[in-house]
């Protein structure tokens, strides 16, 4: 499947040996060893939480490994920060773009590498070289254009060209196609192939498996922080083998079918469409836990925000037979509450105490003709701290000092205090330790058993399979399939759908 000329003796440009990273209570990366051949596209795959991003952070110097070693071109490599990584020949294309919109393409390409005399820029071979590099990988970009006039895809290519011309021998790309259209993806792939042919090694991280088969030479699979396999892709027998390696034996015994789900459709959404979503329709029953499962960028957060009135969307949403409002305020009044994706920036008031955080979504219960009922606030705080088992010595503790799991419980407490009938939970257990995770799942089940409805938006298969009664599978903004959870659920099929298996992938 690869038709470029490889050097006769494959040399290893990057090798990791026994790499381990421990967080308090969690081993995110567990004794991982593999090596990457020079001049190849090496893919890194694994479920969310498999340890990919931790591994990448260690490669780019953002994190220091607990133990183990890395080497680049045979010599020891231990970057202390991103700058070290760049000096060591490893450049990274992050999901957020690191180009300066206000400068030209050429100015961006030379940023930080300029030659100068007395502080003034002087012409050097650098300009010619970076322009040549850019031309070689994408001739259609004008070096004197302002970056603000470029598309996201073109900006990415500018970043890639900068990495290539800075002499990087390895470029790590973290989900580079998440925000690109199909045509742009094609163009990016052409760029990556040209890079490879010019002896640059690309470490390619993506959840979209068909991309990996289109592009990759070799693949490394991680699962639960452990290294599962490193193989030439020509030796991999299709998506199914890759998916099997990613999820291993099914371990989803958590789920037990719940009986008290009513037939009453509490929420109906018809034809939701916006810049991300494409004609999404579904309903949620009273007392039901539904899951929305898909990759990053598939539209999970957009659905949650649309239901909550936080984003504009075309289509209709009915809650308890009435159209929902156009603002979070109206949604909350109607009985919908959201646990947002980013709890620190969107969910919590981190410099306020637990006590002050909890009542924010239900001012009516708190107010006695506008006067704050401190006793209600205090009692609610004590009540939820005990009920949700929030580990703190005081309800006056600032929420920024709580652990991730306890912070998330405070956000839950906010929503519970709002007396919501429908809870929208966007990545409810992201960055939460295992113990708190189990507790959060118990809270969710109890809520549903009490007749509330819950929608979970998650990119963790284990999570949706463990707790949801019904699962909607999303791929690139559309609702591809609906799965009733149960003992005979076909996990590989689900993974196949959300990684693009329905839309002409390699099967």
């Amino acid at each position: 499947m690869t038709d470029h000329n490889q050097s006769p003796v494959p040399s290893h440009v990057l090798a990791v040996n026994g790499l381990t990273k421990d967080y308090p209570g969690v081993r995110a990366v567990d004794n991982v060893s593999f090596s990457i051949q020079s001049g190849t596209v090496h893919c890194l795959v694994g479920e969310n939480g498999a340890g990919k991003s931790t591994l990448v952070k260690m490669l780019t110097g953002a994190l220091q490994p607990t133990s183990g070693s890395m080497s680049v071109n045979g010599s020891q490599y231990l970057p202390g920060n991103p700058q070290d990584a760049r000096d060591g020949g490893i450049a990274t294309l992050f999901q957020e773009l690191h180009v300066v919109d206000e400068l030209t393409v050429l100015e961006n390409l030379t940023l930080g590498m300029e030659r100068s005399r007395f502080g003034f820029l002087i012409k050097s071979k650098l300009e010619d070289r970076v322009v040549q590099t850019l031309y070689a990988i994408e001739p259609s970009i004008n070096p004197s254009a302002r970056v603000s006039t470029l598309s996201v895809a073109q900006k990415q290519i500018v970043e890639i060209a900068r990495a290539a011309s800075s002499g990087a021998s390895v470029i790590i790309m973290d989900e580079p196609t998440a925000a690109l259209s199909e045509r742009e993806v094609e163009r990016l792939f052409a760029v990556i192939r040209r890079l490879r042919d010019s002896a640059v090694t690309v470490v390619y991280i993506s959840h979209k498996l068909e991309e990996i088969f289109q592009l990759g030479d070799a693949v490394t699979v991680l699962r639960d922080g452990k290294h599962i396999a490193t193989k030439q892709l020509s030796d991999v027998a299709g998506r199914s083998e890759l998916i099997e390696m990613m999820i291993g034996r099914s371990v989803f015994q958590d789920y037990s079918p719940r009986t008290n789900i009513s037939d009453e459709k509490v929420l109906r959404a018809e034809g939701l469409t916006n810049s991300v979503l494409r004609d999404v329709s579904f309903h949620i029953n009273r007392g039901e836990i539904v899951g929305f499962y898909g990759l990053v960028g598939a539209g999970k957060t957009e659905i949650a925000r649309a239901l909550f009135g936080a984003d504009k969307v075309a289509g209709s949403i009915e809650f308890k037979g009435r159209p929902v409002g156009r603002s979070p305020k109206q949604a909350i009044a109607a009985g919908i509450a959201l646990v947002p994706e980013e709890r620190r920036t969107q969910g919590l008031f981190t410099n306020l105490s637990i006590r002050e955080n909890i009542p924010v979504m239900n001012l009516r219960r708190l107010s006695n003709n506008g006067v704050f009922r401190a006793s209600v606030e205090h009692d609610a705080a004590v009540d939820y701290v005990n009920r949700l088992n929030i580990a703190t010595e005081s309800i006056d503790k600032h929420t920024e000092k709580l652990s991730g799991g306890n912070q998330q419980k405070v956000v839950f407490a906010k929503c519970l205090f709002a007396d919501a009938d429908l809870l929208l939970l966007d990545e409810p257990t992201r960055g939460v330790d295992v113990g708190a995770k189990t507790e959060i799942y118990d809270i969710i089940r109890n809520l549903a058993d009490d007749g509330n409805s819950v929608a979970i938006f998650s990119s963790e298969l284990e999570e949706v399979l463990g707790i949801c009664d019904r699962i909607f599978l999303l791929y690139s903004g559309s609702l591809e399939a609906e799965v009733i959870n149960g003992t005979n659920v076909d996990a590989p099929h689900i993974l196949n759908v959300v990684t693009g298996g329905h839309v002409g992938g390699v099967q």
Partner: protein, 342 residues
């Protein structure tokens, strides 16, 4: 999860712990007391009850303005327009109340009844507040630039109305009453009582009402506030309107006290209102601070400047002292909070 076993008991034990805000307020209050004692050592006859009272009564205008400014700062917004509004509403109240047919342009007004004149003047003040809200909330322009602009706009209108000087003739007799009326058979004047009442209302709103709490939530995290169903646009609009209303009343009282509408009245008051809020521990990043702290900040500023006005140093020192005081306040408060929460 062993903590949870005895959580009920530890929780109630810990309720007595002081909040960061009370801690900073106490810090500011002790600095104020310390400075007062220090000034008493340096300045003969400084240590007198009358002197202490004067520190408050002489600064009723700035403290009143500081209330609106502090609330806005807590919500994460500046208001530098209050000084301009003081000039505007004062000048307008005079112009509206002046009788028709004076000897020249500056002694001829609109001849409105006094109550109508001050109502209309307050309308002018509120218009500036509405403009602030429009630019900050709707256009999302940084509040510092907006309120610098409206400060000039308000003062500019005042200068046009007074032709760059002042209006003080042809006024009805009752015009001077509000600003000079003494209360409760003492020498305390109405404006001081106004300030004290305002202060009590503000403390009540800040501590005891949902409105006060909303201000903290919005300042602490505007995104989370919106996603929690708070209408922050409306709340910030209210805050700008209240701040401009207070400034409008202050302007009318000052105009009444001096029986004149002077276009340069209130110059640098916006700056002083900001200074006392910062001295009092109100954080520029939003979500932190208290009106009581601002009040003690005003005392500190009053001691520092009254020491400068002729007692120890020349009056020219006041700008330097203000700069040093704000600098020290910010540095020490940041340091003290970091140390406390370590």
């Amino acid at each position: 999860m062993t903590v949870s076993a005895n959580i009920g008991r530890t929780l109630s034990d810990d309720r007595r712990k002081m909040s960061d805000e009370s801690f900073i307020t106490l810090l500011v209050a002790s600095v104020a007391v310390g400075l007062f004692l220090f000034a008493s050592l340096l300045v003969p006859n400084f240590f007198q009850l009358l002197n202490m009272l004067n520190l408050v009564t002489n600064n009723w205008a700035v403290i009143s303005l500081g209330i609106g400014v502090s609330f806005l700062l807590v919500s994460g917004n500046f208001d530098l327009s209050v000084g301009g509004i003081v000039a505007l509403s004062g000048v307008l109240s005079v112009w509206f109340a002046q009788a028709i047919g004076g000897s020249n342009a500056l002694s001829t007004g609109l001849g409105l009844p006094y109550w109508l004149a001050i109502t209309c003047a307050l309308g002018g003040a509120l218009a500036i507040g509405a403009l602030n809200a429009l630019f900050v909330v709707k256009f999302r322009i940084p509040s510092i630039i907006v309120t610098l602009g409206t400060m000039m706009l308000a003062r500019g209108v005042a200068q046009v109305v007074t032709q760059g000087s002042q209006r003080n003739t042809n006024l009805p007799d009752q015009f001077g009453v509000l600003g000079n009326m003494t209360m409760f058979d003492t020498s305390v004047k109405l404006p001081v009582v106004f300030m004290l009442v305002l202060l009590l209302i503000a403390i009540f709103i800040e501590r005891k009402t949902v409105f006060g709490r909303l201000t903290y939530w919005i300042g602490a995290n505007p995104i989370a506030a919106s996603l929690s169903g708070i209408d922050k646009e409306r709340h910030i609009t209210y805050l700008y309107l209240f701040s401009s209303l207070i400034a409008g009343i202050v302007g009318i009282l000052l105009a009444s006290e001096f029986k004149s509408g002077y276009s340069n009245r209130g110059t640098l008051m916006e700056f002083d209102a900001l200074v006392i809020a910062l001295l009092g521990g109100v954080a520029i990043a939003g979500g932190f601070g208290s009106v009581v702290g601002m009040f003690f900040g005003a005392i500190i500023l009053a001691i520092v400047t009254s020491a400068a006005t002729g007692m120890v140093l020349s009056p020219d020192w006041q700008f330097i002292l203000k700069a040093i005081a704000v600098f020290l306040a910010i540095v020490t408060q940041t340091w003290a909070l970091a140390r406390r929460n370590r």
